[in-house]
C-alpha cells in the first residue's frame, strides 16, 4: 500500500483526475505506468508512432484507423491530460469502469463514427465505408462485393437519401445496439 500511495504521488492532480473519471487510484496508477512504458523517449506525450510500435495494433486490421481517430483532435496525449479529449476517449473505450455507464453513451457515438469518417465532414460516405470494409473483410472478398456491401449498408441507414450516413443517421441505426455494453472494457487490477 505504501508503494502505491507513493507512486500515486507521482501523478499530478491525482485526486482531480479520479474525481473526473471515476477511476480508482489503482486504475489511474495502472494507466500511468502504461503511459510511461509507451512513452519510450520520455517526451511526456504520446505520438502515433508510439502506438504504431505496438505489436497488437500493427496486427489489427483497422489499427491505423484507430490511432488516427485517437489523434484526430490534434491535442497531444500527455499524461495528466491537457484537455478533456483523451479523457473522453479513455472513458469511451478504455476504462468504462463499472460506474461510468451513463457518461459514455453520448461519447461513444462520435468516437466510432470518427473511425469511419476520414475527412471529418460529419458524414460517412460510400468511399469511406468502403475503405473500412476493405480493411476488415480481407482478401477473399472481391472489390465488387465490397462495393455492393457498402452500397447496401448506406441504403440501410441513409434516411435523407444523400448517399452518405450522417452522424444522426448513424446514431439512429445503432440505436438498438447496446453500445454501453459493447464498448466497455473491463479493467483488471
Amino acid at each position: 500500500m505504501g508503494s502505491s500511495s507513493s507512486s500515486r504521488n507521482k501523478i499530478p492532480n491525482a485526486q482531480e483526475l479520479m474525481r473526473q473519471t471515476g477511476f480508482s487510484s489503482a486504475h489511474l496508477l495502472r494507466l500511468h505506468d502504461r503511459f510511461e512504458s509507451l512513452d519510450r523517449d520520455n517526451r511526456g506525450y504520446l505520438s502515433p508512432d508510439d502506438f504504431e510500435a505496438l505489436g497488437g495494433l500493427a496486427m489489427n486490421p483497422i489499427g491505423g484507423r484507430i490511432i488516427e481517430a485517437f489523434f484526430s483532435s490534434g491535442i497531444p496525449w500527455t499524461f495528466p491530460p491537457l484537455s478533456g479529449f483523451w479523457l473522453i476517449s479513455v472513458q469511451l473505450t478504455e476504462t468504462e469502469t463499472k460506474k461510468e455507464h451513463s457518461k459514455s453513451s453520448p461519447a461513444a457515438g462520435p468516437g466510432s463514427s470518427n473511425l469511419y469518417d476520414l475527412d471529418r465532414d460529419g458524414k460517412i460516405s460510400r468511399e469511406e465505408l468502403l475503405q473500412v470494409l476493405r480493411a476488415m473483410l480481407g482478401l477473399q472478398v472481391t472489390e465488387e462485393q465490397l462495393q455492393s456491401i457498402a452500397e447496401r449498408a448506406i441504403q440501410e441507414a441513409d434516411l435523407d437519401k444523400d448517399d452518405a450516413i450522417s452522424f444522426d443517421e448513424f446514431k439512429k441505426s445503432l440505436e438498438k445496439m447496446d453500445i454501453d455494453t459493447k464498448m466497455s472494457v473491463s479493467f483488471l487490477k
Binding site: R30, I62, I66, E94, Q145, S186
Partner: protein
C-alpha cells in the same frame, strides 16, 4: 368456441384410443401374468394352440399377433398419444399463454395415467431411467448444445460455471444437511435416512433441469444474458448433478464408517475427472463430426445422420467411460455447430436443424407426459408432510440464497453486473425436472429404505416448480419489468460497426497493455481462423465465414424472397420468370445459396437487366418498384412467350422419379432432357416414316416451327429436329403409349419412355448447345438402350431380345438413316398410331 370444440373432439378421440389400447394392454398384462404364474403350462398351451390352429386352418389369412408387435407398437402409440396431446394443447393459445406447455403436458399425463389406472388397476407405464437417459434425454441436450449461442455462452462462461458447479454443490449440500438437521430435530417423524442418504437426495434434487427451463423460458423472452445464465447453468449442472449423484451413491454403498479423507479426496478428484473428461470426449466427437462433414459431399442425403449418430455415440462413449454423458453431448454439439454448418450443404443444415428440433421437441413432450403419468401410482405415494414440505421450502430458499450470494461475488468482476431483478428470475427459474426424477428412480431400494418417499418428494418438487413456478414466471417477469430480449433485425451497418468495435476494443486493450476478454477473443479467433478452420472446414466453406459477409448474404436472400413474393402477390407470376436472368437468379440462390458470389452476381444481373439505373448493383426494396414497373410493361410482350414455356413444360408434371440418393430432380436439366428426347423421337419417327413411306403431318410442323423459333433462338438444328413436334401433344402421346404397350406383351411393364431415359445433366447440357454432330454421337452411344426405340421396334418383330440386330438397326438412324435398314414393312394399322404417339 369452435376451437374448443375441436380440442374436445381431439381429446375425446385420443381418450378413446387410449382406452382401446389400454384395454388391449390390460389383456396383455393379464395374459403375461398368467404366463408368469404357470409358465410351462401356458407355453405348452401356447404351443398346442399354435399347432392346433395350424392344424385346422392351414394358412391363416389373418392372424392377430399382438405379442409379436407389442413393444414397438406401444412405443409408437405412446409417442403418438403424446404428440396428440401436444397438438390439443397447442391448439388452445389462450391457455398456453397463461399456463406453460410443460405444465399442461404434465396434466395431460395425469389424465392418461388416471385412465391407465382405471383400466389396469396398476401402474404399467412409467418413465424408467434407462428410457429416459438413453433414449429421451440425449436429443434434447444435443439440440441445446447444437443451438447454443456460442459467443454468448463463452462470454458468460465464468458466471455459468460458478453457478453450475458451486451453486449445485451448495444446493445439494445445504438441502441434504438441512433435512438431516430437521430430522435430528424431530420434524419429520421416524425416517430411516442417514446423513449420506440425505446428501444423495440433495444431490439429485440440486440440478436445475434444462428441459423444464427451456420449456418455460422459451415463452418468456427474457434478455440474452439472463437466458444464457439460467440455461447454461441448467445444462452444465446436469452433468454436475449426475457426477455428484454418482459420488454420493458410491459413498452410500461404501457405508458411513468406511469413508475417510482419502475416499473424499478421491470423490472430489473423480468429480473433476468425470466433468472434464466428459467435456473432452464431447470435444473429440465434435471435431470428428466436423472432419467427417468435410468429405460427405457425395452422400448428402445421409450427411445429417452423422451428426445424430456421432452425437449419440459421444453420449454413449462418455457413459461407457463413466464420464459425464450430458456434458459430453453438450460440448459435442457446441463444438461442431460452426464447422458442420459451414461444411454441409444448405439443405443438410436445414435438415439437421429441423430434425434436431423435431427430436428434441418430441422427446420433451414425451418426458413431460410421462412425468405426469408416473405420478398415478399408488406405490410411490408415501406421504410424509414434514419431509415433503421441508424439501420444497429448502429447495426454494437455498436456490435464492445460492444465486444471490454467487451473483454478488460475480458482480464484483463482471463488467455489466446482473441486476437484482435478473437475480430474482434466475433464482425463480430454478426448475427441477425429469433428470431429478430419473435419478430418484435409479436409487437402490436395498440401500435406501425410503426410496419411495424420495421419488414421491422429487415428483412433488418437480410438479411444484414446473407447474406453479412455470405459471407464475411470466407474470413475475412482467411485474419485475425484466429486460426482455429485443427483437433484432440484422442490419449490415450494425454488424459492421460491431465488428469494428471489437477491433477497437482489442486495440484499446493493446494500448492499455492488458490481457482482457477482447484480447483473448481476438487471439482465439486468430487461432481458429488459421488452424481450426483450416483443418475442419472445407476450403470452399472457409472463405464464407466472415460475419459481415454472412449478414449481407442473408439480407440478399431475404430481399430475393420478398421480391418474388411481392411479384406473386401482385398477381403476375410471370414476373418471376419473364427474364432469363431472373430465373437464373432464383434458381441459383436456391441451389447454391451459400455461394454468395454467385447469388450476388446474378442479383446484379437481374437488377441491371431490367433497370439500368444503378452503377453499383444491389438488391433493395426501393428497386423492386422500378423492376416491377419494367416488368409490367414487358408483361404483354412476354405473355405469349410465357405461354409457350408453360405449354412446353407441362409434360414434366407427370414425371416423378423416385430416388433414394437425390432429393430433387434438377428442373432445368429436365427440360433439356425433354428437348433431347423429343428430338430423338422425332428422328426416330422421321426415320421410320421414311422407311415406311409415311410422312409426318404437315400442319403440326408449321405450327410448332413458329413457336420453337421463338423459344430457342440458339439451337437452330434443334429447331429443325423438333419441327414435327408440338408441345401441347404431350398428354396425347401418353395416352397413346398404352395401346402400343398392351399390344406387345414383351414390353408391357414399360412405362413412359421418358422416365427410363436418363440423360446425365452434363450431357444434356451440352446437347442443348451442340449441333447435329454431337447429338448423333450421343445417339450412337445411347440409343440401343432407349426404351422408346425398343418399344417402336418391338411390335415389328417378335424376337425383340436379340440385341445384335438392335444395335445394327440403331446405328444407322443417326446420319445415314436410309443406307442400311433391315426393317420389314410394318403392319397396316401401325402408321397412324405412330403419328399420334410421337
Amino acid at each position: 368456441m369452435l376451437r374448443c370444440g375441436y380440442a374436445l373432439f381431439w381429446l375425446l378421440e385420443s381418450v378413446l384410443l387410449i382406452c382401446v389400447v389400454s384395454s388391449v394392454k390390460g389383456e396383455a398384462v393379464v395374459t403375461r401374468e398368467g404366463s408368469h404364474l404357470k409358465l410351462s403350462e401356458s407355453s405348452h398351451s401356447n404351443e398346442s394352440q399354435h399347432g392346433h390352429s395350424s392344424n385346422i386352418t392351414g394358412i391363416p389369412i389373418i392372424s392377430f399377433k399382438w405379442h409379436h408387435v407389442e413393444t414397438p407398437y406401444l412405443v409408437a402409440f405412446w409417442v403418438l398419444v403424446s404428440f396428440l396431446g401436444k397438438l390439443v394443447i397447442e391448439a388452445n393459445h389462450h391457455v398456453t399463454s397463461v399456463i406453460p406447455e410443460s405444465a399442461l403436458l404434465i396434466c395431460f399425463g395425469f389424465i392418461l395415467g388416471g385412465m391407465i389406472w382405471a383400466a389396469d388397476k396398476v401402474q404399467t407405464f412409467r418413465l424408467t431411467p434407462t428410457v429416459f437417459f438413453f433414449y429421451l434425454l440425449p436429443q434434447v441436450i444435443l439440440d441445446a448444445g447444437y443451438h447454443m449461442p456460442n459467443k454468448l455462452f463463452f462470454t458468460n462462461l465464468g458466471g455459468i460455471l460458478v453457478h453450475a458447479v458451486i451453486g449445485t454443490c451448495w444446493n445439494a449440500a445445504s438441502l441434504g444437511l438441512s433435512l438431516w438437521g430437521c430430522q435430528m430435530g424431530g420434524a419429520m417423524g421416524d425416517l430411516d435416512i442417514g446423513l449420506l442418504q440425505y446428501l444423495l437426495f440433495g444431490s439429485l434434487m440440486a440440478a436445475v433441469d434444462p428441459v423444464a427451463v427451456i420449456a418455460v423460458f422459451e415463452q418468456v423472452h427474457v434478455n440474452d444474458v439472463l437466458f444464457i445464465m439460467v440455461f447454461g447453468e441448467s445444462l452444465l449442472n446436469d452433468g454436475v448433478t449426475v457426477v455428484l449423484f454418482n459420488v454420493f451413491d458410491a459413498f452410500v454403498s461404501l457405508g458411513g464408517p468406511k469413508i475417510d479423507a482419502a475416499e473424499i479426496i478421491k470423490g472430489i478428484v473423480s468429480f473433476f475427472v468425470v466433468a472434464f473428461g466428459g467435456s473432452l470426449v464431447g470435444l473429440v466427437f465434435g471435431l470428428l463430426i466436423s472432419l467427417l462433414t468435410r468429405c460427405t459431399k457425395n452422400i448428402q442425403i445421409i450427411e445429417p445422420g452423422f451428426i445424430f449418430v456421432l452425437g449419440y455415440l459421444s453420449y454413449l462413449t462418455a457413459e461407457m467411460l463413466s464420464l459425464s454423458a450430458i456434458l459430453s453431448i453438450v460440448f459435442c454439439g457446441m463444438c461442431c455447430q460452426k464447422y458442420i454448418n459451414a461444411n454441409m450443404d444448405e439443405n443438410s443444415v436445414q435438415t439437421v436443424r429441423y430434425a434436431m428440433k423435431a427430436f428434441a421437441n418430441g422427446s420433451e413432450t414425451i418426458i413431460f407426459v410421462f412425468l405426469g403419468i408416473s405420478a398415478i401410482d399408488k406405490v410411490i405415494w408415501v406421504w410424509n408432510t414434514g419431509f415433503i414440505l421441508l424439501t420444497l421450502l429448502f429447495v426454494l430458499v437455498y436456490r435464492f440464497i445460492g444465486v444471490f450470494f454467487l451473483t454478488w461475488i460475480l458482480n464484483r468482476y463482471r463488467l455489466v453486473p446482473l441486476e437484482f431483478v435478473d437475480q430474482v428470475i434466475m433464482s425463480y427459474g430454478g426448475l427441477r425436472g425429469a433428470v431429478a426424477y430419473g435419478l430418484a428412480v435409479m436409487l437402490d431400494e436395498n440401500k435406501i429404505k425410503e426410496k419411495n418417499l424420495m421419488v414421491c418428494t422429487t415428483l412433488i418438487v418437480v410438479y411444484f416448480t414446473v407447474i406453479l413456478q412455470g405459471i407464475t414466471m411470466k407474470p413475475l417477469v412482467m411485474w419485475l419489468k425484466v429486460k426482455r430480449a429485443a427483437v433484432t433485425e440484422v442490419s449490415l451497418l450494425e454488424k459492421l460497426t460491431n465488428k469494428m468495435f471489437n477491433h477497437t476494443l482489442v486495440a484499446i486493450e493493446d494500448i492499455s497493455g492488458q490481457i482482457g476478454h477482447n484480447y483473448m477473443r481476438s487471439k482465439w479467433k486468430y487461432f481458429e481462423e488459421n488452424w481450426m478452420s483450416w483443418i475442419l472446414m472445407k476450403p470452399s466453406a472457409r472463405k464464407k465465414q466472415d460475419q459481415v459477409f454472412d449478414v449481407f448474404h442473408q439480407l440478399n436472400l431475404k430481399d430475393a424472397m420478398e421480391y418474388v413474393t411481392e411479384g406473386e402477390r401482385r398477381g403476375s407470376l410471370e414476373f418471376v420468370r419473364n427474364e432469363n436472368s431472373i430465373i437464373d437468379f432464383k434458381k441459383k440462390s436456391e441451389s447454391e445459396s451459400f455461394d454468395i458470389n454467385n447469388a450476388n452476381m446474378s442479383n446484379d444481373h437481374g437488377a441491371m437487366s431490367t433497370t439500368s439505373r444503378d452503377p453499383i448493383p444491389s438488391v433493395s426494396l426501393e428497386m423492386h418498384e422500378q423492376i416491377m414497373k419494367a416488368v409490367r410493361e414487358a408483361e404483354a410482350i412476354n405473355a405469349h412467350h410465357l405461354l409457350d414455356q408453360h405449354l412446353y413444360k407441362s409434360r414434366k408434371q407427370h414425371r416423378h422419379r423416385f430416388s433414394r440418393s437425390h432429393f430433387d430432380i434438377n428442373r432445368d436439366e429436365k427440360e433439356v432432357q425433354e428437348i433431347f428426347q423429343r428430338t430423338m423421337r422425332n428422328r426416330m419417327k422421321s426415320f421410320t416414316s421414311a422407311k415406311m413411306g409415311v410422312k409426318p403431318p404437315k400442319t403440326i410442323v408449321k405450327h410448332t416451327q413458329k413457336e420453337q423459333q421463338q423459344k430457342m433462338p440458339n439451337g437452330k438444328s434443334m429447331d429443325k429436329a423438333k419441327t414435327s413436334y408440338s408441345g401441347d401433344e404431350g398428354p396425347n402421346s401418353v395416352s397413346f403409349v398404352h395401346p402400343a404397350g398392351i399390344e406387345n406383351p414383351a414390353f408391357m411393364p414399360d412405362l413412359d419412355p421418358m422416365d427410363l431415359l436418363q440423360i446425365p445433366p452434363w450431357l444434356g447440357e451440352s446437347e442443348l448447345d451442340s449441333s447435329m454432330v454431337a447429338l448423333s454421337h450421343r445417339a450412337q452411344v445411347d440409343l440401343p438402350r432407349t426404351p422408346s426405340n425398343l418399344r417402336r421396334l418391338a411390335p415389328l418383330r417378335i424376337s425383340t431380345r436379340s440385341t445384335a440386330s438392335f444395335t445394327l438397326e440403331n446405328i444407322p438412324d443417326t446420319q445415314q438413316m436410309d443406307s442400311d435398314q433391315l426393317q420389314p414393312p410394318p403392319p397396316p394399322p401401325r402408321p397412324p398410331r405412330d403419328d399420334g404417339y410421337v
